[in-house]
Symmetry: C3
Subunit: 249 residues, 3 copies
């Protein structure tokens, strides 16, 4: 993939995407254009299952939109969804079959926070990640999903606090509030991600013999159900289920 | 404002309200009457945006209702909502345009807990705040909102635990369970509140030049939207949005 | 009660149930049969209010189903609900008037996790409890309630992480994510459970005189409401309320 503001590398079914839009990774027309290209290329490619986003800038993941070029980046967003709206681009990403993970080591604020909230999962470096939803300090509502996502993730009281205070939140507090999955030392992410993305047999109980494991696997692969539950009885929240179904293909 | 059980002082758009109903801040007719007066006076006053409640009693914020005067305090509550019900008084407060913050340094139990749950946000002193929803120990359901609020804030499992155990919970555990926004040292509240209520420029990214900030501000104030999202596309939970909209006026 | 895989002892209104299905507490036909017998006997018995489940095996609470005997355990489950489905057995347990508590000191994975998620409350030993929802590693969806329960308890992002990673989670992290009520040292459970299950007067405020307490109690027992709120005004989530109502009888 040839993109000006995104460096993409592929390992197995994972695309590692590094955001590099100097001088500070503003969400402007170039970055939106490249995100649209990335999604359009990755989504129909069955060999790609997971996108992991990180930043090439040690200070900024995405700090906010480029307010001098709003009309331009809206036009780029419209190329994916038909609507000149960042919010619908983010919504598209959330609903995509692609599993999206934000690996955050610096500042995400305003629309930057809304971008990572649109991802399926968010992990942040304890040492350096910073979160903020500062729009209300400018007399504005966050319009790209933060009001909804934060209310669901952390409850009305904490979402109101985050938006009305307009303050910065550390990774540690962001985890306590539910903004992110987990805050962990930057060095620990590599281990977690390696275990996880490559699959680890560590979860198998010690007493399970290899032959038994093979038999379990073979049975479960045939039946496509678990614990004897016909799928039509399992009323599941649609989105997590669809993502899991995709992942198991 | 001339109230027997509430000391009110005004700083900017904030009313600081100290509950002082000796001997132990029981929620009785006088306190309910004064809360009704406070709300009736503050709500139509456009110069008031925020109410911060604290207690003048070092041991009790509000421990429970005055069970010897139920009919009387119900009659006082009816003067606000038309219904002789504390629960509807609390509900009125939650739905009010006023932003309400409970600063808790002592015991909130039973209807006292329900009062702070009706506030938009709750902060508690790590050293001394205590939380309890003990009604089930007397064979009763909490009827003033606790069953609903706690279930949403902490999940069915923890809400059942809190109600069925009828035990006291520390500020630290109350934060882990989601009962409150945050437990913090009593001394830290002053700093947080000062940063927050007076607005802090600390959230502006260092690289943002003053002129740029002015331009952002001016743009956003004109457009009344953010990130290019038309408001009609942003389906937001009604209550947080309304509180944020109010705060930005 | 005479059951092969469950040791049951009664203290007051509590049945303490120890799962002992060697060699590793697999959820197979015998254990399902005995769970069905237990529920059928305990539910109509008004002297029983609470079931506390623990494991006799120091390594396994319930690690997963016995995949070699799926048809058989489904047939046992059908004897309670009419459907050959573990998921409906778990659902039955959640909706039961019985208050169910899982005391977890070892591994709960897959359907074992779904069993404890079906309980009303979950407490885990910090030292030794382990949680996993590993079905997706075998190309399967958890079909017995985990997808739904985990999404509600920990949010879509963390539920996706747990299921897609298929990793083991410590008790401490399980608490932070909301999988369980609380992780605490194994020794602390005895104290908590004793305080709780036997009722503790500790929650009464020091300033409350005994005579006053008696008067409160007597009043509240008469009125069956609290804080002056008519019950028909209290729209409560159905399940927590029903469990609380049952507990106060």
């Amino acid at each position: 993939m040839n993109l000006d503001t995104l460096s993409v590398s592929k390992e197995g079914a994972v695309l590692f995407v590094e955001i590099a839009a100097p001088p500070m990774n503003l969400l402007g027309p170039e970055l939106v254009r490249d995100l649209v290209s990335l999604i359009k290329e990755a989504e129909p490619d069955e060999a790609v299952k997971i996108l992991v986003f990180k930043s090439a800038d040690p200070d900024y993941f995405i700090p906010h939109v480029d307010v001098t070029r709003i009309k331009e980046y809206r036009q780029e967003a419209a190329k994916l969804t038909g609507e000149a709206s960042l919010a619908l681009l983010f919504r598209y990403l959330s609903a995509s079959r692609l599993i999206t993970i934000a690996q955050i080591e610096s500042r995400v604020r305003a629309a930057g926070s809304e971008f990572v909230l649109a991802c399926d999962m968010r992990f942040a470096a304890l040492e350096s990640a910073i979160f903020g939803q500062f729009e209300p300090a400018f007399g504005l509502l966050p319009g790209g999903g933060a009001a909804q996502h934060l209310t669901r993730l952390m409850g009305r009281n904490r979402a109101l606090e985050v938006m009305l205070s307009a303050q910065d939140y550390s990774a540690e507090l962001a985890e306590r509030y539910g903004w992110i999955n987990r805050a962990l030392p930057a060095a620990a992410w590599a281990i977690l991600s390696d275990h996880w993305l490559n699959g680890s047999p560590a979860f198998l109980p010690p007493a399970t013999q290899p032959s038994r494991t093979g038999s379990m696997l073979s049975h479960w692969q045939r039946s496509r159900t678990f614990a004897g539950t016909p799928m039509h009885l399992a009323k599941q929240y649609e989105s997590p289920r669809r993502k899991v179904e995709f992942a198991r293909r």
